[in-house]
Amino acid sequence: MNSRYGKTLTLTILSLLILCIIAACGQTTSNTSTSSPAGDRTAEKDKDSSGAPTHLNVALFWLGSNLDPAEDWNGWTLTRAAIGETLIQFDENMKLVPKIADSWDRIDDTTWHFHIRDGVTFHNGNKVTADVVKKSIERSMELNERGQSTLPVASMTAEGQDLTIQTTEPYASLLGNIAEPLFVIVDTSADTSKFKSEPIATGPFMVTSYTPDQEIQVKKYDGYWDGAADVDTITFKYIKDDSTRALALQSGEIDVASNVGRSSLALFQDQSQYTIDEIPSLRTQFVWFNTKNPLLNEPDVRRAISYGIDREMYANTLVGGQAAKGPFTSALPFGYDQVKGYNYEPETAKKLLDEAGYEDIDGDGIREKDGQKLTLQLILNSAYESDSIVAAAMQSQLKEIGVNLEMTSYEDLTDHQKSGNYDLALTSINTGITGDPQYILDFYFKTGAEWNIGGYSNPKLDAVIQQLHSEFDVEKRYELAAEAQQMILDDAAYMFITYTPINIVSKSSVQGATMYPIDFYLLDRNIQVGQ
C-alpha cells in the first residue's frame, strides 16, 4: 500500500512540476516575443490629461506573412499603417495625387518622367533620390511576379531627383500600377534581410517591433517630409474575427477599426462615442450568365432576369452599400454617371419573357417553353455572407416573374466557374485595383478573356476595349470605359447587383480616420487623438 502511494505521489508531483515548467517556459518565451505593454488601456487614459505621449490602438483585419513590401501583398499593410509610401497614390476620389514624386509627365507613348520630391528621407535618415527609388522599384519587380506583370519596364534611368521609366509597350495604366503598394519605396542600401520585420521606408510612422501574425508597433518618424505626425505611437493589432473586432472596439481596447461587420455597425451609432465613415468600396457584387446554356443564350431572358431583381432594396435594407449599374462603382471616375443600368421592373420582365415564348402552362408558377422549365442553377461563395443574403432575395423575387433559381454554395467557385458547370455565378470582385478600367475590361468582358467564363462575345465591345490600350488621354479613357459598360449592359451579359460598402469606425476622440474607396490606405500623418 505504502509503495503504491509513494509512486502515485512521486508521479503526481512530477506531473505538476512538468506542468509548472511548461507554463513558466511559455510565459518567458511569449514575453520576449510580445513586447506590448500590459496595460494599454490605462496608458491611454493617462495620455488624455496633458503633454503625455499619445497612443492609438488600431485593429487590422488582414496581416500578411511579414512586412517586406516586395513580398506577396505585404505592401498593403505598410501603406495602411502609414509606414510606407509609393511614388504617387490615390485620393478619396480615386484621382492620383503626388506622394514621394511631386510631379510626373508622359514624354511619349513609352516614356514617363517622375520628379522625386526634395527633402524626403527614409526612417534611417538617408535621403531619397531617383537612384534609390529606381533600386527599390527594381527590387519589387525582382522579388514579386506581380511586379513584372504590372510594370512592363524596358529600362529606368536616374539622375539626381529625376527618374525616367521606359516601358516595353505603350502602357497607359502605368501610373495606377506604380501606386500599388507593392512599389512602396524602401532603402535598399539598408540591411534588406531585416525588412521582413523592420522595413526602412518613408512614411510618417516607423516600425519599432513586429510580432508575426499578431501586431505591429510603430512610433512617429520625426523627419517625415510632410511634418511629423501628432500621434506618438500606434499599436496595430491583427484581429481577424469580425465579432472580436467589434467587441474590442466596444471594450475600448482598440480605438480605430475598419471593416466592422454590418450586423455590428448598429452598435456604434452613438455619435458622442464613435465616428463611422462608410462609403461604397471598389468591390462590385455581380453575376455571370452562362450563355452556353441555351436558355441564357437569349438576351431577352437575361434582360428579364436583370429587370426582375430589386437592387435598391438589397442595398438599402439587406446588405448595405449602393445599387449597382455597371461593373465600376460611383467611387471610380470611369463614367458611372453616363451609364444606364437596370431598375426593378417586374412587369417589363414578365413582358420580355412572354415575348420570348416562356409561359407557365402547368400552373406551378414556373414558366416553360417547349416543355423545358425556366430553372437555373445559381452558384455562390459560401464565405461571403452578403452574397448568400442577396442570392436568397433573388431567388424569391425571380420566382414572381416565373423563373426558378436553385442555389448551391461552394467554398471556392473557381473550378465550377471554369468548367462551366453553372448557369448563374454570383461573387464580388474588386474592379478598381489599378485605378484604371482597362485591366477589368480585358480580364472579364473581352471575347475569350480569361475570366469571361460565361462565353459572352461582342466584337464591337472588343474593339472599344482594344482602343483603350492606346488611348492616353484620361478623360477619353473614361468615355471609352463608359461606352464599353453600356454595351455590356445592353447585352445583359452580366448582372451587376450592389457596390459593397466599406467602413472605418473610430472612437469620437480620434480625428482624421477616413475611409478610402481603395483599401490600400487607412491612416496617415493627420490622425489625431483629441484632448
Partner: protein, 312 residues
Amino acid sequence: MSRYIVKRFIQLAAVLFGISFLTFLLTYLSPGDPARLMLMSTGVTPSDELVQQVRLQLGLDQPFWIRYGTWLGQVLTGDFGTSYKYDRPVLDILLSRLPATLRLTGSALLLVILIAFPLGILSAVYRNNVLDYVIRLFSFAGLSMPSFWLGMLLMLVFGVQLKLLPVMGSSGWNSLILPACTLALPLIAQYIRQIRTVILEEMSQNYVTGARARGVKERVIMMQHILPNILLPIVTLMGMSTGALLGGAAIVESLFVWPGVGQMAVDAIFTRDYPLIQGYVIWMATIYVLLNLIVDLWTHLHDPRIRLDVDV
C-alpha cells in the same frame, strides 16, 4: 515494462504513418487550389499564368505519390517542410506557437482541477440536497453552452460591460483569464458529473459499508479510500482532455486572438497551407498517442492488476 514501451513506440510510428497518409490524401482531395487561394487572399482574381507559376513553385504540379513520398522522406529527417504562407519552416512556426497554447492549456487544466474536484465531491456527499441540485444545474448549463457563445458572453460581460478584462490578445496575465475560463467551463461541468458518479458508485461498495460499520469517520473513508480509488478513471479522462486542449481548442483561440497552435491550424486550413496542416496533424497525433501511453503507465503503477503486456 521496457519491452512494452518499445512496442508502444512501434505502434506510435505506425499510427503516425497512417494518420499522415490519410490527412495528406484528404487535403489533396479537398476542393480549392492553394496557389489560387494564396493569390486571391486580397480579392484580386489572378491570371491562370500566375497561378501556374505559383503551382510550379510550390510543387503542386507533381502527382500525389511523389508529393507524399517527398514530404514523408523529409519528415523522417526532421524537416516538416516550409509553410506556404509564412515561407518559414513548419517546425519553427509550431514551436513558436506552442508556448501560448501550453500556457492556456495549463491554466485551463488548473482551473478544472481546482474547481471540478471540490464541487464534484460536494455534489456526491450532499447527494439530492439543495447544494447538489445547484451544482448539477451549473454543470448542466456548462455542458449545454457552445464555447464560442460562452466566449462571446464572457467578453461582453467582463470586457465590454464591466471593463475588467481585455477581450483579446495575449499581453499581460489578465488576458489569459477569459480564454482559460472559456476552455475550462465546459470541462469543469463534465468533470463534476463524472466525479460525482464515480464517487457515488464507490460509496455503494461493500468495503465502504464495512468501514462505516467499523465506525471509521466519513472524512477518513473519503480521503483514504474513495478518493484514491476514483483517481483512476478521472486520470484517464484527463489524459484525453489534455490532448484535446493541447490540440489548441481552435475556436477559443481564434475568438480571443490567442496566438496558439489552434488559431494557426484554422488559418492554415483557410489558406490551404498543406505543409502547416500536415505538421499540425502530426503534432496532434503524437500528443494523443504519447498521452495515452503516459496514462496507461500511470494506471499500471497505480493498479498493477491492469497488466500492460497482456493487452498489447
